[in-house]
Chain length 430, copies 2
């Protein structure tokens, strides 16, 4: 059987997973491809305890791998955007196919790299960059290729979804408390900023938006809001109103522009996305012919991410030089630079939570301000705590975010309103 | 731009959907492929009210289409296994690529047709045969290609899922009542046998099992049980015990053989598959590296099915002569004829419902019979209706089906037990 040589750069969680998957499932992979996939070199700073490297050609210089004539496909699994960028460029220059799990690299440098790869006639694949083991890139670029995609909404960061799920189900545990536990369990990094502030999700959504709509990679135009401001109180009120709070990446094609945003979102408990708990991921795609389809699975970890990395290797092996699937799903000349809407220009419903001093007439004042901004109240909770300070929770109709911001400023100016309002976007998909 | 000619055979629901999708999204499809997909001929017995055929070459003889030199890809959308078989064979003989939505044709004649297509060097694609707009064939054959698939369970028939959902949510409506309504709404055929008795699901599961495990298409070895025996009473008891009843297709690779079965199944309300309501479909795949992934969407209808048909056309156009994805996901020489387990040899948990005459000591007799067959009771409901006849509902541990059948025979022989027992399999996936 013909053999294909794979060079692995980076032997952390994903690299070790890919190493073990290629080794462990070599027979199954040959059954599916009629070829032998062989790891011809591994480049890593140190060995990984889960990998038996006894008979493997190991180098401490990852750049050896991209020069090795026995390597046909380079797996870039080192992460980061500095060395990884140089590594991938050199691999392409040496006419190696490249498979990467690096969302930041693709979101920021994708277009430059795709051009280099296309000019060199090699594949550059990145299924593993988004949602771990879920073949979402393939679903959008190929499975739904006949559709005009309308929107896409996803739970695409396991850390934030784990934290929100725990805050909801484990009783009175606030964000900081659950975050510490997630760090102990290995579900959150020591520096959790990338995950909890939505940067990781933003990288993934940047890529998803491009392959859904055929627009350039626009990470710089992304609106990203994290979950550190979400309180147990908000989760409880949302629950009373029939909602769950999920940290979603949302991108949509509207006739005013592309929406591109990551933020906590109230969604009805009956939505399929509301069932996605813990570290699971899911992406809901709305498209004109297929309607709504959803793709669900484990969004991170050695096995799931390796599953997507090695699926890309198999794709390369099956198509190789004849690969005709454009990197972003659309042929380069068809990419349209549709402007990304500023977040103040999007339309959404809103959850607002205010604390008011219990003075008769304050509800009338609130209603008047809202109605002056053409905002109507869809649901309302008002609870007399008997302590003078009354929490009021409002869910509005769909309005322009700018109008809500203006109304909030006025509401916060009322002398009966204590401290800043909480505001969370509310979306309906089904 | 280079043009590819598509010939549509059959202009019913799916054919008209494909016609309108190719026409309506021609620009979007060109953006994704760099080619023009043009319908060069339509073969149909009569025009379809939803299609404007004014400028289209229409023939009343579908065999004209497979002879037409302007047709590169034939869409077989006539259904059935007689004329369709001849049509596809003639298309292949004329070196046309073929895309079909015909699950029966593939489940029964797939291997013969794949061999003909491979010998002729043309593609034979069938994404639309399973689960409408959900790209499940692509997900398994390509997206999860690095995995050894362990099991697959799916809601793959919209009609039965609609009926069960309605029986559960619409109160006291029995099977016959809801079926009539489904027929009026167009969710069930005038002759509903194929759907409600599980034949349609069995065709789909036959194909899914082959692409999951690399085994031959074994429709003849399928166990299929429909939903006509499911009562509102069972749905209610299942609910009390924390379950919903879903009509599932299940296939698994065990070390004793392949399981291949379609039947009503109790699954925990918290399972993702339990959230799949109405005419929606979903397939849960368990695999060694990716873990559990699920694919959800609309399982039938003009738009969703056409989405998959046209995605296959785009795949053909992108790969064409160089297509290296084996039809069943595994290279022909690697297909292994692993035996299919007889249904009495599978292992499952069981829901049993008996009516007993309220005689002290009957529970002891039931327990003794079960325990003699090494069956233990996981949950039990016993309700005194005050009318002498007491319903007893039992959920067992996982046992060999043969043991349960033996126990049931003995239970039905007890003079305190009235009429036949109800027995429904119980599965846990997550």
């Amino acid at each position: 059987m013909q053999q294909i040589g794979v060079g692995i750069c980076g032997l952390g969680t994903v690299g070790s997973g890919a190493y073990n998957l290629i080794s462990g499932n070599s027979e199954e992979i040959s059954r599916k491809t009629g070829r032998v996939v062989k790891i011809t070199q591994v480049g890593c700073r140190r060995d990984h305890p889960d990998c038996d490297l006894a008979t493997t050609n190991v180098t401490r210089d990852i750049f050896d791998v991209v020069k090795n004539p026995e390597v046909d496909v380079v797996l870039e699994l080192i992460g980061g955007t500095d060395v990884a960028l140089r590594l991938v460029k050199e691999a392409i220059a040496n006419r190696k196919h490249v498979v990467t799990a690096n969302k930041a690299l693709i979101a920021i440098h994708g277009e430059e790299l795709f051009k280099l790869a296309n000019d060199a006639g090699v594949c550059l694949k990145f299924e593993a960059a988004i949602a771990g083991g879920i073949p979402i890139v393939k679903a959008i670029r190929e499975g739904l290729a006949a559709n005009e995609v309308q929107f896409l909404a996803g739970v695409i960061n396991g850390t934030t979804n784990y934290i929100l799920t725990e805050m909801e189900t484990a009783g009175n545990r606030d964000f900081t408390d659950v975050l510490s536990e997630a760090q102990e369990l290995g579900y959150a990094e020591a520096d959790p900023t990338f995950d909890v502030e939505g940067i990781d999700a933003a990288h993934k959504l940047t890529i998803l938006s491009s392959i859904a709509f055929g627009v350039p990679l626009k990470f710089d135009s992304m609106y990203a809001e994290g979950i550190s401001e979400i309180t147990v109180e908000d989760i409880r009120y949302a629950g009373e109103l029939g909602f769950r709070i999920k940290h979603l990446g949302i991108t949509a094609r509207t006739n005013r522009g592309i929406e591109l945003r990551v933020h906590p979102t109230l969604i009805k408990k009956t939505e399929m996305l509301a069932q996605v708990d813990g570290v699971m991921n899911a992406v809901l795609v709305g498209s004109d012919a297929a309607g709504q389809t959803m793709y669900y699975g484990v969004g991170a970890g050695a096995g799931p991410t390796a599953s997507s990395v090695v699926a890309d290797v198999i794709d390369v092996l099956r198509s190789g030089e004849t690969d005709q699937i454009p990197n972003l799903g659309f042929v380069a000349e068809a990419i349209q630079a549709i402007p990304v809407l500023d977040i103040t220009n999007i339309e959404s419903a809103y959850y607002l939570r205010l604390k008011v001093i219990d003075v008769p007439g304050v509800m009338a004042k609130i209603s008047t301000i809202l109605s002056e901004h053409t905002i109507s109240i869809e649901s309302l909770i008002q609870k007399d705590t008997g302590q003078g300070e009354v929490p009021i929770v409002i869910v509005t109709n769909r309005v322009l975010e700018r109008s809500v911001n203006d109304a909030i400023r006025e509401l916060e100016g009322l002398k009966q309103v204590e401290g800043p309002l909480a505001r969370i976007r509310v979306e309906t998909f089904s």
